[in-house]
Amino acid sequence: MAALTYREVADKVLRAMTRPGPVYTALLGLCVSLVALGGVAWAYQIETGIGVSVKTNPVGWSLYITTFVFWVGIAHSGTLISAILFLLRARWRTSIFRSAEAMTVIAVMTAGLFPFIHLGRVWRVYYLLPYPNQRELWPNFKSPLIWDVFAISTYFTISAIFFFIGMIPDLAVIRDRAKGWRRRIYGVLSFGWRGSDREWQSYLSAYVLFAGLATPLVISVHSVVSWDFAMSIVPGWHTTIFAPYFVAGAIHSGFAMVLTLLIPLRRILQCEDLITRRHLENMAKVIILTGLIVGYAYGLEFFLAWYGGNKAEYDVFVYRATGHYAVEYWIMVTCNALLPLAFFVKKVRTSLVALFVLSILINVGMWFERFVIIVTSLSHEYLPHGWGEIHLFAAGEWKWVDLAIVAGSFGWFFMWFLLFLKTLPWISITEVREGLHAKAAHQTPAGEVRP
């Protein structure tokens, strides 16, 4: 990296923004098709009624809420990398934080669709918002669901602004290299940034403040999501460990998704010298930590259920591990708590193939974690005559709508990420240059700094 000049950094990063090749177009086409499939499924659900979904009594929250929590979780590592690691002065964040932030914003955009989809009458969605009305009806601010509305919309707004502000100097670089209408568009997007001392002063000040605001926010968001469950008295949900357990799980899945995205990207875009194996290894180390926390929470839940002496609670946990959803439960335990332990072995966490495969498996596991938490508890509440499971294949027909919408959400996520790669700088040019500047200033006596 020491050999790179400022210009080469920009050349390398902006190479991603050249005319798309056939592979890119094919991938984008695939994503758009998935989005279309999800859209058709949703339209069908709106037209026919929520009964076409797999959710039914007693499991009123099923795949939509599972996928909602999954995507909110994915959204966590971006702000963690950009804000918390920034405040901790962890320099290794430099080349990965932009794509992680983009992933965050896109994942919240994806998660944000699910409360709409989950609602039977989506046209009433505005009831969730506090707005003045003739009857003076307001949301119940004691409800965790309305906390969630506030948390998710704040998180989306703040992470989108943080993402955008961090990009302004880079957008100016693109503007100055572009011609014609592109120059005009990036000129507007960069706010006419010129890198004056006054601009940098305000920028640096604002960046630290944003990092300071985003840090408690990122922890609060998944805590609030966990309280959607923990504030109720459903067995398996009503526990105080949910907030830290959910936050750790969110970071676990978020880092895994960053790995899933970056391992192929750094190769395709030839940026192996910007995103080095050390970056990937560091993320694997974070995953070891979060995997241990998640594994500890899985064990602790059982301990609390037993030690708490609550029969219904204990029964739910036995049901989770041995009942109708035992396969899903053991997928969750294996993928999230056991497999990441392999990262303790240096050979595994420095092997690209192992990292890539494990990162995907962790995300599979994290989706199932949300599924297990949500669906098993609702399937097995207090009264035995109220127990019941969801079935994708029931009464001679497939419940395809939920699966199509979940698949559509993956298409939506990857579609936006692909569009991001072609329109915005996927690595922070400015911060990589800053790293070079700091390195040069460190290595040579003052006055001999060379870009």
């Binding site: 890198g195 006054r198 609060s220």
Partner: protein, 167 residues
């Protein structure tokens, strides 16, 4: 008084640009601006000014905190019903609303503070500004009387300016 003129020195090394800024300021020039592709502490420290951003963050954040709490308390007092076994004005759950609105408005305030502090958005580039300054060169621009142009050009050259542009 004759019209103010502008001169820009383009430097390859940030330390040279910072040294030039310091000398120009010592000689009494007040309208000095520096440009750089990355934030350079030395260069920023050589120029006065403290960004107002933090005040926007603080005030908007406080406004968000009070506003969020007020929204929850005042709206729940309209019907004054006990919900979930909690009093209508239940401060503990409302702290969550308040917290989120603190962050939301604090963040929006920071954005406004940034734009005001940095005087953005700006339609046109400042006179003489050069695209090299967003790539790998450091610029020092000074507004001065026409008779000072020669002196400034000399100072820039002494500090190793690669290029000197005049309006």
């Amino acid at each position: 008084m004759s019209a103010r003129q502008r001169i820009l020195g383009v430097f390859e090394r940030p330390a040279d640009a910072a040294a030039a800024v310091r000398e120009v300021r010592e000689r009494g020039f007040r309208e000095v601006e520096a440009y750089s592709p990355v934030p350079v502490e030395e260069l920023i420290a050589a120029l006065p000014g403290k960004p107002p951003v933090r005040w926007f963050t603080l005030l908007c954040g406080l406004g968000g905190f009070v506003g969020g709490m007020a929204l929850a308390v005042l709206t729940s007092l309209i019907y004054n019903l006990v919900v979930g076994g909690k009093p209508p004005a239940a401060f503990v759950p409302y702290l969550i609303i308040s917290f989120e609105s603190t962050i939301l408005l604090g963040g929006l305030g920071t954005l406004v503070g940034l734009l005001i502090g940095a005087r953005l958005p700006r339609r046109k580039a400042p006179p003489l500004w050069d695209a090299r300054l967003s790539e790998d060169r450091y610029g020092v621009a000074v507004e001065c009387n026409p008779e000072a142009l020669e002196l400034l050009a000399r100072i820039f050259a002494e500090h190793g300016a690669e290029d000197v542009l005049r309006a």
